[in-house]
């Protein structure tokens, strides 16, 4: 599933300044797990779909797990988000933004001590 931005469709494929077609420029490369084909320009893959594809390819993909935690929290499943984020931080305690995001999630749950603790870890890790 992709979300089309809808621009330039009437004009077909993008062109370079010299008027030649630019088949590769701006084209979207789908992750291998979803077929690996090129999409037309101006289509942006749905984030949840990209996360799913990346986790299918590698269940320990930390970037995908981090975003999965965010998607879960955004859908109201904050506790599950924290649990997924903990997996990320177990594997990489210096994951960029990880501890501050954990602090945010604990804040959403009203867990003040856990929030402060995560924030302190963030200060240690990122300075």
């Amino acid at each position: 599933m992709t979300r089309s931005l809808g621009f330039h469709r009437h004009r077909g494929r993008m062109r370079r300044r010299d008027g030649r077609r630019a088949p590769a420029e701006g084209a979207i490369w789908r992750p291998r797990a979803s077929g690996g084909e090129r999409l037309t320009a101006f289509e942006v893959p749905d984030t949840a779909m990209v996360v799913r594809a990346r986790l299918l390819a590698n269940a320990d993909d930390l970037d995908a797990l981090f975003v999965l935690a965010a998607l879960r929290a955004q859908n109201g499943l904050v506790e599950e988000g924290i649990s997924i984020l903990d997996r990320v931080l177990d594997r990489d305690p210096a994951y960029p933004g990880g501890w501050r995001f954990k602090a945010t999630l604990h804040h959403m749950r009203g867990e003040d001590d856990a929030e402060r603790s995560a924030w302190a870890r963030a200060e240690d890790v990122e300075g």
Binding site: M14, A22, F42, V44, G97, F101, G127
Partner: protein, 183 residues
């Protein structure tokens, strides 16, 4: 015995909609490489680049370690992740895609989100993909007016050809240094 010049560490956040070329710009700047294939960034990627720039107010050149945060362009997760990504940022490189007008207007929301965490920090705008035919709905005077209205210096760029890339990264670093208290 010589005393080595201090190294200044700066956190610079790249922001803008998906597929505007944030990752490609960093790749061009840091590695001088370009890859046509698009892989959406998930989360954030941090890249360090050491550079030497003129010191502010005619001071000697300064060695800077720019920590470039390449943040995924998913607007729906922007506010949830703003503390995680923007805390401690000292400069913003806002990137639009010159072939998609909507990506320029979207910079306001990115700027707002970053400023809500990092305060009123220096901002530099980039209108990327200048090697391609621009969106006909995006006239150069509109682009100029957009950035002028907000007081953000800006330039066109192309991660593919390298146009304007190095200059823009250096410019945002200079802007940040200029705004820092002396010493």
């Amino acid at each position: 015995m010589s005393v080595s010049a201090p190294v200044v560490r700066l956190k610079i956040c790249m922001a803008g909609e998906s597929s505007v070329g944030k990752t490609s710009l960093i790749r061009r700047y840091v590695l001088d490489e370009y890859d046509d294939r698009y892989l959406a960034t998930l989360g954030t990627k941090i890249t360090k680049k050491a550079l030497t720039v003129p010191g502010p107010k005619a001071a000697p050149p300064v060695t800077v370690h720019a920590i470039l945060w390449d943040i995924m362009g998913t607007p729906t997760l922007r506010d949830l992740l703003r503390e995680a990504y923007y805390h401690g940022a000292e400069g913003i490189l806002l990137v639009a895609d010159g072939t998609r007008k909507s990506t320029l207007a979207a910079l306001d929301d990115w700027s707002r989100s970053i400023r809500s965490v990092a305060g009123d920090i220096p901002t530099y705008g980039l209108v990327n993909k200048h090697d391609l035919e621009p969106d006909p709905a995006l006239q150069p005077e509109d682009v100029q007016a957009f950035f002028e209205k907000r007081g953000w210096p800006w330039s066109y760029s192309s991660a593919k050809t390298g146009e304007g890339v190095e200059e823009s990264f250096e410019k945002i670093v200079e802007l940040v240094l200029k705004g820092r208290p002396a010493g």
